[in-house]
Subunit: 420 residues, 2 copies
Amino acid sequence: MMQSVDLLVHSASQLCVVPGPAGPQRGRELGTLGLIEDGTVAVQDGRIVATGPTAELRARYTARHTLDAHGRCVIPGFVDPHTHLPWYGDRANEFEQRLAGASYMEIMAAGGGIMSTVRQTRSATLEALVADNLPRLARMLRHGTTSAEAKTGYGLETAAELKQLEAIVALIERQPVELTATFLPAHAVPAEYQGRTEAYVELVIAEMLPAAAKWMAGRGVRLYCDVFCEEGVFDLAQTRRILEAARALGFGLKLHADEFAGLGGTSLAVELGAVSADHLVQTPPADIAALGRGRTVAVSLPGTPFGLAHRDYTPAGAILNAGGALALATDCNPGTCWCESMQMVIALACRYQGLTQAQALAAATLNAAHAIGRGDEIGSLETGKQADLLILDVADYRQLGYRFGANLVHTVVKRGHVLE
Amino acid sequence: MMQSVDLLVHSASQLCVVPGPAGPQRGRELGTLGLIEDGTVAVQDGRIVATGPTAELRARYTARHTLDAHGRCVIPGFVDPHTHLPWYGDRANEFEQRLAGASYMEIMAAGGGIMSTVRQTRSATLEALVADNLPRLARMLRHGTTSAEAKTGYGLETAAELKQLEAIVALIERQPVELTATFLPAHAVPAEYQGRTEAYVELVIAEMLPAAAKWMAGRGVRLYCDVFCEEGVFDLAQTRRILEAARALGFGLKLHADEFAGLGGTSLAVELGAVSADHLVQTPPADIAALGRGRTVAVSLPGTPFGLAHRDYTPAGAILNAGGALALATDCNPGTCWCESMQMVIALACRYQGLTQAQALAAATLNAAHAIGRGDEIGSLETGKQADLLILDVADYRQLGYRFGANLVHTVVKRGHVLE
């Protein structure tokens, strides 16, 4: 008895199912890709109803729509669990100034750096902010990202931070990449609070978090709260206060930690049950060990040291050896790393963090899904999960990372819809 | 009186004309982009007949076909003056073995390394070799490369080297990216000549070069001859003998030099009037100075140190300070650097070689054209040159290099044909 389904993606040279993990604990089992040669996926109502050998599935299913993936491999859609969308404008001029020899301090003194993006984002209308970010999401999708995280943090005042949240909602409605929203009012100390970090932390706790919590309740959107815990920005005690206040208001937690200095943020993230701790370049051994004991996913952002031409990357091997779960993300932002492509991130992680292609792929899909709390819904091609998948232009998933710079995505399928 | 032309690409936010240089001597003047805001290009019979402000050109020309580049910048098509196309197969498995900890020697002992590609290329039929390389060229084109160099060097025996030349001719006929052909029988010492490098050099000079010269005359294809001058491969004296023999037979000259050790190859290239010296990572000061005195273009291949996760890159600043002409290329090959994208190369050159976006763009277009002897035909948007141009998805050329990992090409125009 043949069953009819909406879509069969059939005859893939490899179907990378990425089997198993239902939570971060199991998400740690990197490098255990479930590979089906000559594989097929059956999709109904935007969800996967079966995966298996082509001969078997073609005997069981007929489909209203079929995609022939002969000679091509099929993998889960990439999940990008750390981006700084939505922002307004760009800083290509600063990049040029740096290349021409200007120092960071000279650029800051001329009004550059993050405050330049804050000014541009504050003064943009909601509609302009949304329009400026649609091409970025389209580019992410073309390069295979089917779900991503998006953050505030370029408002740094209540109304502008809420405008960024509204922009995220509008972007969710207007294009296919699913977005998980994070509230990051403690991304930097705004110019008007320079030298008064404590006063800004008070504003975040007393006004901004409650306003976002109210917005969250009204909008029915689940929010994470994040803090940039870094030397010269928010210290560990300030970070703890903000995150504890956020947790009490019902936010999930994430954390920027150890990008330039290890302040203990990663251990704090584990202690507070944060879904992820992100950057983790200068992470001290005690914090790496903490990752092995908790459920917090380590999110590595190798595009950022690359973007800055720095030499230190996330100690991925040490994190895996300690039993930590590792995910990859772009950190897409207009200052240090304007990169929409998870393929680029995989190429960096293989070269500079020693991940095999299988480890990098799991880190860019299933573990990345866990890093935004969605490991049960997306990130692998298992029955019941959303049908978010990529047909690559290559027959072997191991071409990812090995090749770099060019887009290897042939077709994107999001919730069962064939997009390109 | 309105003049009718085939195509007007109009209203570009920036038209990057890259003015002036007619030869390598003038090609050195990097960083002097000619930028026209709200610019238009008029094209007739595949050639540029005018560039200028949109208002001016729209008053002078009507066109059978128009492309609106509003909000987008227009630049010359990228020229990639150093690739190792055509080869057969891939070495993704070796990349995986390296990441899993295998040493270079272990991989070589298991039959890996360049000899793996040589075996695959030798045993491929001409038709299979052509078919294997068409997708690579399509990917290059999608990422903006409109002309490239292609090499032999995976045959390492007369018949297989000539088969690679035939494949280049077939690829020229079957797709739009123009290819300049280079004969590189001295790319490596083949397995059957291990320990007998001198005997292989004799074979190259006595049999292979004359066979290729005869092929060149019969086919009417201009060939360059290239040698991999490197420690443990071909030394300076062997390189000189091969290049002098090639020059006497009518080949143009190019040279792989200083990738891992500086043997004096760059000075030799200048002395012999080679059109380019390529790699130039460990180039000694005397060789850098020689570049300032000659017409040989220094071709930097930053994708290769990146591909190998090495830390040393071409000393671009020293070359420019010495008065040398600098070009960029991908080195696209299946071993150290499988990268089809000149945008990726620009991103690397800005970060690791300190080029400004303007310098990198000139190096990836006009100077790259000079590095394959075609600076009079392609590489800039000047009247009389081929209409090879790109409409980018961004309004400012300085987004190149600043952004990385994602493809910023919107439309490719090759010889006046709108390709995508």
